[in-house]
């Protein structure tokens, strides 16, 4: 009986994780697509030096970071993957969302600073998992770069 209850709790958590995780993911992607269109004018590049047309601009550090958590379903799915090997697809979408969200936040900061472009963009990730492997892992993605804004606003 006890085993049945544990199995039920497991299935419930799995179902909740799947349902809410999937819904959150779909909503998040919608919002990412919309904001990427909106911020398309703020060019993000990985060039280390400003292009010739930006040499007269002000430079300023901008960054965007996001912390994102794994849901139960993804975690179990990844745990199974750990046994058999292969692409952990459920984590791929999660990290894709995190990176794009971090870029968008950086772009928003650049827009607030009146910048036209961001150069030298870099990513950092770090894992926040408490003090043991048992907690649900969450990761931080940080995007940072140099925003270039015109000196004389007209």
């Amino acid at each position: 009986m006890e085993a049945l209850i544990q199995l039920g709790i497991f299935a419930l958590l799995l179902g909740l994780g799947f349902f809410f995780g999937r819904r959150a993911e779909a909503k998040h992607y919608q919002s990412i697509f919309a904001r990427e269109d909106e911020l398309r004018q703020i060019v993000v590049s990985t060039d280390r030096f400003p292009p010739i047309e930006f040499t007269n601009h002000n430079a300023q550090l901008v960054s965007g970071n996001v912390v994102i958590s794994v849901d139960y379903f993804k975690r179990v799915s990844a745990g199974l993957r750990a046994l058999v090997g292969g692409r952990i697809r459920s984590y791929e979408t999660l990290l894709d969302r995190a990176r794009r969200e971090a870029l968008l936040r950086m772009q928003e900061q650049a827009r607030a600073a009146g910048a036209d472009a961001i150069i030298n963009t870099k990513f950092e990730t770090s894992r926040i998992s408490g003090n043991s492997n048992k907690g649900v892992a969450s990761i931080e993605v940080l995007a940072y770069g140099t925003a270039l804004s015109p000196k004389n606003k007209r």
């Binding site: 799947f18 999937r22 990427e36 911020l39 398309r40 004018q41 703020i42 060019v43 993000v44 590049s45 292009p51 047309e53 930006f54 379903f73 993804k74 179990v76 799915s77 199974l80 993957r81 046994l83 058999v84 692409r87 697809r89 459920s90 791929e92 979408t93 894709d96 472009a117």
Partner: protein, 291 residues
């Protein structure tokens, strides 16, 4: 090369896949379950085949504490102690008719549980009978059937099979889950070693039923009254069908039918002297205790 005027639109589906994660999940889950199940089945087969070769005295050494435990409970009433002696005598008489291997011996214990009619066999040839069972039976034959059934479990080394099988499976599971189940393994070993009823398979129960009937046939010369306890239990509980699927004891009705069939065959075989087939009354020490 000039600097881009705006960010390009990245095509979707390169870094991620749009495949439903449930599909992937179920394929992996099913595969892993299948492999686990196959390994567990293999381990159980391994244990069932090899456990009978474990010397019986190892089992006895493991379970010596039961005897001490039973003896130290000195605050029992005289009637209880008398009943326990009577049970032990009956058990020993049945054991001599059970074709036990020479090194195997059985020890019977009575436990004070008036509301649970039950009996079970565990490691080291120890058989436990609850006081509730004594109240349920009206003749010695019915009680003897239950005891002979448990003696048959000991005879076929079922406790050793199921204990070593369970332990192997736990060991395997804790090995693949990276030792997180070490505590569970310990508690299982303790529980199984203690007075928990060992789970026997349906096949084991049927075998024990058959062997018990053979024993009773030798001991009493007939099979009258053997199904009484089981029919009473059936009448009391009216097991639901779905429940029978999950319990290791085969559907009680099937068992009773089987016992009755054997009893009829038996009475057909020596129809000449029907008069001899009377049930033996319960030992007064047991009968008085139940009242």
């Amino acid at each position: 090369m000039s600097f881009a005027k705006q960010n390009p639109k990245i095509p979707e589906g390169i870094n991620t896949s749009t495949e439903n994660p449930l599909k992937e999940f179920f394929i992996m889950f099913g595969g892993v379950l299948f492999v686990l199940g196959a390994t567990v089945a293999l381990l159980m087969l391994f244990a069932n085949t090899l456990a009978p070769y474990i010397p019986f005295r190892y089992e006895q050494q493991l379970s010596n504490k039961y005897a001490e435990w039973s003896n130290t409970e000195s605050d029992q009433s005289v009637a209880f102690l008398d009943a326990e002696v009577a049970i032990q005598e009956l058990g020993q008489r049945l054991a001599t008719h059970s074709d036990l291997a020479p090194e195997i011996s059985v020890q019977l214990h009575l436990i004070e549980q008036a509301d649970v009619p039950n009996a079970f066999a565990t490691l080291g040839g120890h058989i436990f009978v609850t006081t509730g069972l004594l109240k349920e039976v009206s003749s010695e034959n019915a009680l003897a059937m239950v005891i002979a059934h448990e003696i048959a479990h000991i005879k076929f080394r079922h406790p050793a099979k199921s204990f070593s099988g369970g332990l192997l499976v736990q060991l395997f599971l804790s090995a693949i889950t990276g030792g997180q189940n070490a505590a569970a393994l310990q508690s299982t070993a303790q529980q199984t070693g203690l007075l928990t009823m060992l789970g026997f398979s349906r096949q084991m129960e049927s075998n024990a039923d058959d062997a018990a009937l053979n024993t009773l046939k030798k001991y009493y010369g007939h099979l009258e009254g053997t199904e009484e306890f089981f029919s009473k239990v059936l009448a009391q509980h009216e097991q639901a069908r779905w429940q029978a699927l999950f319990t290791s004891h085969p559907d009680l009705r099937q068992r009773i039918d089987h016992i009755q069939r054997r009893a009829q065959q038996q009475s057909g075989a020596n129809s000449g002297d029907n008069t001899a087939q009377a049930t033996t009354p319960l030992d007064p020490r047991l009968a008085n205790f139940g009242a």
